[in-house]
Every structure is written in C-alpha cells, then in structure tokens.
Amino acid sequence: MSYDTVVVGAGLAGLTAALRLTERGQRVMIVARGVGATHLAPATIDVLGYLGDTRVGAPAGSLAALIAASPDHPYAHITADQLATAVTWFGAHAAALGYSGSVGENMLLPTALGVPKPSALAPRSMAGGDLRGGGRFLFVGFKGFKDFHPALIADNLVRAPLPLPITARALELEPPSSRLGDLSGRVIAGRFDADNLTDWLVGELENRVEPDERIGVPAVLGLRSGDQTWQELEKRLGCTVFEVSTLPPSVPGIRLFNALTAALRARGARLVLGVRAVGAHANNGHIDTIDVANATGTVSHAVGSVLLATGGFPSGGLELDSFGATRETVFDLPLIGVPETDRVRFAPNYFDPQPLASAGVPTDDLLRPVDANGHPVYTNLHAAGAILGGAIPWKEKSGTGISVASGYAAAEAILAPAAQSVSEAVR
C-alpha cells in the first residue's frame, strides 16, 4: 500500500507525529515491533526538569542554557515557539486526559518513591499533587498492590527539598476481595472500570480526611473511566484528589496510548504492531519504499516520507552488540554520543556519567538524520523521540518533552518541506 508517511515506532514520538500528520490530511501507517514506553512512563510531559544538578523551574526559559551546554541536543533543532506550540497542541489533542500546565513553568509532582518530579504538563487527575505550594497531604495505598508504599512516599517527601514545607501522612486500605489474582495496576484499573470501586474508596476515606488535606492515590483509577472516577472522587470527598504515578505498568500512560490511537483510528491511520521495519529502497538519497517484515516475509510500501521514532536502546531503535559496536537498527544511520569500540562503555557506578547516555542520531533543523558532514542521509527521512542523540533524558527529565516536541516538529517538517527549507536558508 502507499502512504504519505510511514511512521516507524508507536511510542509517544511516533504517535504524536502521526496524529499531527493525519490532522493535516495525510495518509499514515504506523508500524512497530511492539508497544513503546507509553505503557511504562507516567503520562506527564516533562520538557526539562534538570540542568546539571539544578532543578529547573521554568523549562522554556532554560532551553538556551541547555543548548549552550549540550549543542547537539534535540531541542537545538526546535525553536522555542515550536516547542511551546507542540506542547500546547499536544495537551489539546490528548483531551481525554485533560492536560494542564504549560512550558512556562514546572509543576512538582510526587512519584511512587516520594521524589518531587518536575513536569510541564500533567493529566488533570495528577496535577492536584503539585507540591510547590506546600500544604497537607494524605497518601493512600492499597494492600496487595506492589511497589506502592504510601508511608515511603510521605516520608521521603517531607524530607525532600521543596519551595514550601509540606506535611504528609500515609494510609493503607484493604481493597474489597475479588476473584482476580495478582493486583497489578492494570488489574485494579480494570476493577475501577467494571465494579465501581469508587463507592468503596469514598466510604473508606470520607471520615478519615482532615480539613485542607489533599489525597494522593496510586494512578490506577480506571483505564476507560479514570478521569470520571477522579472527578467523582473529588466531588464526593469535597477535597483535592490526585493520582500518583506508579512503577510500571503505567495506567495513565496506557490511557494516553489509547487516547492517541483512538484519535488516529478515527482519522483513518493504520497501526500495525508486531512487525519490524527492516530497511528501505532509495534513489538519489530519496526513500521510495520502506520494507516491513511481517509473519511471512517483507512487504515494501511506497512512501512520501518516513519518520523514524524507534526509541533508544530500550525499544530496539539502537543496539549494542557483544563486540561493543552500537548501531541504529533500521537504516544503520550515523550516530553521535557513541564511544569508540575499544573504549569503556559503562561507568562502574549507576549514577556516574555514562559514556553511552546520549547516544543517538544527529539531525539537521528539519530533524533529518545527517552524516558526518551535516548532510541529510535521505531527503525524506525524519527522526523524533528517544532515537535522537545529544540528550540524556533520564537525567534532564526531558524524555516525554523531547518526544512530543520532536514528533510535532518532524511532522511539520514533513508537511511543509519547501517552506521550511526557505527558513533554513535564511537562518
């Protein structure tokens, strides 16, 4: 089949780009080996949380400093306006989650380990946990739900560096028994969808909340009904309730994936999981067809453009073999941030600066992967998300921000190549 754009990768970057492209009338197919990091990461959009060891309050205002320190950073190829437009557009288009926030300032949201994490945008069901204003918090856990300990959260948060002091206490509730075995976040969310655990939760909390307390619950309030459940809880309890991101799987992340793919389906995009992009046929530096390996063989699809959104090492966009060689897995693109094969690739301590941390694909300002001379490898290949080199997302707290901003910007570059090239020439 022929497509205007084939997007390789169904993570946040690929889905964002695909949504923008279909919105502008493109016929898009997304192919992916599997699901991306959406199901693991909280659905917050973290644009920039740290510059070195310093926590960032105003992400948009700190970009210049970031780019000065890391000139190869993906954000160096995205203008501040583009970034703001992308994030605002994204919030509006993932409307089912009701995003709040902006690139202007970071919220500080508690994690399941009781760390305040800077996020520019958060689903409204999470935004009530913003710690910046101080105040009183009650963290609630469910017995049997692993890796979520309200006492740990409360304890760590009161000791964490925050602009204003907070108090926090913990409560662990015994959920009504069910025939379901393992209490994973996904299973509890299913129970909120199906059995109305809301009544139970309201009943448990009604007489235990103290005035002015905000209630943090694990982010498992339902997959289909999460937002409604949250609204109902706030209404019936008469106080601020917020979801706290959990360890994987991430229920808000699955909601986000579902919202984005539903919007894509409604616009006629095709999403094919369980297949792998394995290469392309190009003529004069222009990709004509992309090869996708399925159950029996390889099918070539004619394309106008290709977006590479294959993620980094965790999703298989990059591969490190046992001889120490790193490569980009679909096109064997040139990489930056990769030590020579005979050099040390891992520092002994986890939190040490890691030699491979910023490995990825370098691009031009149209987010096209470039060779060592800065020339695009293919005129119609763009890249977005964690496959981009030059960033250390987990340290900067910039992973989802990069995905959204570069996904949107790459889509724009695909949509208006001519206009963009002119502005490139002017620059």
């Binding site: 089949m1 299913g190 799987p249 095709r270 029996t296």
Partner: protein
C-alpha cells in the same frame, strides 16, 4: 528444533507490557499472565516435567507476542508448554474431539438436521457438558449439510483466466459454504480462475489443544495438497485468518516443522483481504462497487493481527460507497478457536468478550464484520448481532448477490438475513 522461540525468553526485560494486554489474566486468577507463564516459567521447564498447569489457561490469542517490544515469543512459548503438559498428562478426550473439525464435520454433515438439533438442544448440550466438558452455552455453528467442497465441484468458472488457489478451511467447508461461494464469486469477478484443491484440516485446533504430533500430520497432509500449486507460482488465499496464519507461521514456529514444502506454501499464502488489497494497490481490483448504506462495526480478530498486515478489510471496505465501518478497539472476543467451548473456560471467554460485545451494542448496528469464523460465532452469540466476513460486504457491494439470485446467508450460528 528452532530454538529461537525458547531463546527469545532471554530478551524479556520484565517491562510488563504483555501483562497489561493479556485479556485472560485480567478476568481470572487461574492464569498468572504472559510474563509469568511465558518467559519466566519457561526457565524452569527444561527437559523435565512440566512445571504448572496454569499455562493451559492461556488462550493462545497471541496478543502478548504482538505487543512485546523485545520480540519475546510469549504465546508461542506458552503453546509449546501446553503441548508438553498434555503430552505428559495425556490429552483429554474432549480436547481430542473438538480439535478434529474434519472428523466432526464428516460425522455431522450427512445428518445435518439431526446434528444441528442436538447442537442447539439444551438438554443434549447439558449431557455433552457433563460427559465431554463442552460448555452447554458455548457458541456452536450449524452444519450446512452440503459441504463447500461438494458445492464447488459442480461450479464452472472461467477456464482461461489467471489462477488462484483457494484454501477454504473447515469452517467454510462444513458450516459456512456460502462464504466460500462468495469468495469464489468475488475472485472470479476480478478475473481469476479459482482452484479449490481437495483439502483437510490445517491442524491448528490440534496444536492449540496440545496434540502436536497429530497437528504435524495434518499440516504435512495439507501442505502436500497445496505445494504443487505453490511451486507453480500460484498464490493461495484463505478466508480463515487463523488457519492461514497456521500455514504462514505457526506450523514452523510452534510445531517446529522445518520443511522446504511448508516454506514455499507459507510464502504463497495470503489472507483473502490482504490479497484483494494487493490487487487494488496494483490497480487490478475492480472497483465497480454499488452503494451499501450501512454502518458496520469491524473487529479485527487477534489471529488476523498476527499476520502483521494491518487491517486490509478496512482499506477495502473504504472503497464501497456509503458503507461506514467503525473500527473497534478491543483485542479479543474471547473464543480463541476452541478455548471458549470448554466447560471450565466458557465463563472466562465470555468475560473477555464482554467489552467487545458492549462496544458492538453501543454502535446500534445489527451487523458486525470480522474475518475469523470462530470469532464471528462468538460475536453472534455474545453480542446478539449477525456477524459477517468482510467478503460478504464486498460481494454485496459488487452486486453479485443480485446476479447470483442469492440471499445473503451469513454465519453458522446466526443464519440471519441482512436486509437493506
């Protein structure tokens, strides 16, 4: 044997993505989920005894393998573990029975009215449930009486057109021969001569019921019938998504058949809609579709997704004027071939299908489309709608029903007519 299936367990990073998708572990504590039953338990399965029986509760829907970002062949690992379990414990009679659709078909066809009465009689089904273990409420198709093979023998198609080979599968043969006739009609309308070789079961039900040796025999027999055509360079099309997938991939990956003939057949196999869409891409599909003013929810069966071909039915049906397809977003209808027939699994299968049924109901349509026959029977049963193969909509849009003077007769469980 091809150990890339087992070896893939080392790629598991414990990300839990498969767990969030498994339709079975979400509705029952009997199954611990794909990560536990698959890559984790497999480490203990070595050469010795099977380590647990919970893997029998895996329905084999294959969704876990599709979503796993690390290419762990979870469903395939489970499938093999299940076979080992039954190899050690002996395959129960019930599994032996429902795994042989051709045997059942041959028994039921000559006495179709009687057999159909029995299949839909509550008292009889109650006895069957207690003796054999097939749930009394599980969806059972009706025998058509005259098989597709028999019907097609009298059919005279064009003689000098390019040929395509039709692998119709057991569902079409014994229960839905009219679907087979529609397939032939649509292919002929597009200028093909349709060859219907004699054929038997592909062995898939035996495989999913844990009898690998018998399944291999069936695969080999079928491959023998198909391979001369494949060697002659002819495409083979199938409207049974799961049987097509068996030949495309599972016979090799799960049953471990390493065989040049199978390989050639695999490479010649096309899902029916995949084949038609390819024709369209080459500008060779006739698009003289008439208006079909219907709104129809479409469910892509999990086995169809295993082909990795997208949803060609939707691309094809988008060509039909005034036909509005609603793409449903539910992974599994619950039946998973013969899984939902079993006494101890019927409830699970209905719980899995619940969301699909309610999403179909929410569309208000009395008609749903789905490529796989067992899923259509489950949908008809669970959602109370008529469930058709996409080919039926194409057939009507081409106006072939009027030419052939034939009413639309649809699924085996719901011999309902579509009006409008």
């Amino acid at each position: 044997m091809n150990d890339f299936i087992r070896d893939s367990l080392d790629h598991c990073v414990k990300c839990t993505i498969c767990e969030t998708y498994c339709p079975v572990s979400q509705v029952t504590p009997m199954f611990p989920g794909p990560k536990y039953a698959g890559p984790q338990a497999e480490r203990y399965r070595g050469a010795g005894k099977s380590v647990d029986s919970s893997v029998d509760y895996c329905s084999g829907c294959g969704i876990c393998t599709q979503v796993c970002p690390q290419d762990v062949k979870i469903a395939e690992i489970n499938s093999r573990a299940r076979a080992k379990l039954w190899e050690q414990r002996g395959v129960p009679l019930r599994n032996q029975m429902i795994a042989r659709p051709t045997v059942i078909g041959r028994l039921g066809t000559p006495v179709a009215p009687l057999a159909n009465w029995a299949l839909h009689n509550r008292a009889v089904r109650g006895i069957v449930q207690s003796i054999v273990g097939i749930h009394r409420d599980a969806p059972m198709p009706s025998f058509a009486g005259k098989t597709f093979q028999k019907r097609s023998r009298n059919h005279r198609g064009p003689s000098d057109a390019p040929a395509v080979v039709y692998f119709h599968g057991c569902g079409t043969n014994y229960y839905e021969p009219l679907v087979g006739e529609m397939v032939v009609a649509v292919l002929e309308h597009n200028g093909f001569r349709v060859i219907v070789p004699e054929q038997d079961c592909c062995g898939l039900p035996l495989q999913s019921n844990g009898n690998f040796p018998a399944a291999r025999t069936y695969v080999r027999r079928l491959v023998d019938r198909l391979v001369p055509h494949a060697r002659a360079g002819l495409p083979i099309v199938s409207n049974s998504t799961s049987c097509g997938l068996m030949l495309k991939r599972e016979a090799h990956e799960i049953l471990g058949i390493e065989d040049e003939d199978l390989k050639i057949v695999s490479e010649s196999m096309y899902d029916l809609c995949e084949f038609l869409l390819r024709l369209h891409e080459r500008g060779q599909l006739r698009t003289d579709f008439g208006s079909l003013p219907l709104t129809v929810p479409y469910h892509a069966p999990c086995q169809q997704r295993g082909h990795g071909i997208g949803k060609p039915a939707l691309d094809l049906l988008a060509l039909v004027p005034d036909l509005h397809m609603i793409e449903l977003d539910v992974d599994c209808c619950g039946i998973a071939g013969t899984y939902g027939l079993k006494k101890e699994k019927y409830e699970i299968s209905m719980a899995v299908g619940k969301r699909l049924f309610s999403d179909i109901a929410a569309t208000g349509s009395e008609l749903a489309a789905c490529d796989s026959e067992t899923c259509r029977w489950q949908i008809a049963h669970g959602a109370g709608v008529t469930a058709v193969h996409p080919i039926e909509l194409l057939y009507r849009a081409y106006g072939l029903d009027r030419q052939g003077q034939r009413d639309l007769v649809t699924t085996g469980t719901q011999p309902a007519r579509v009006s409008g």
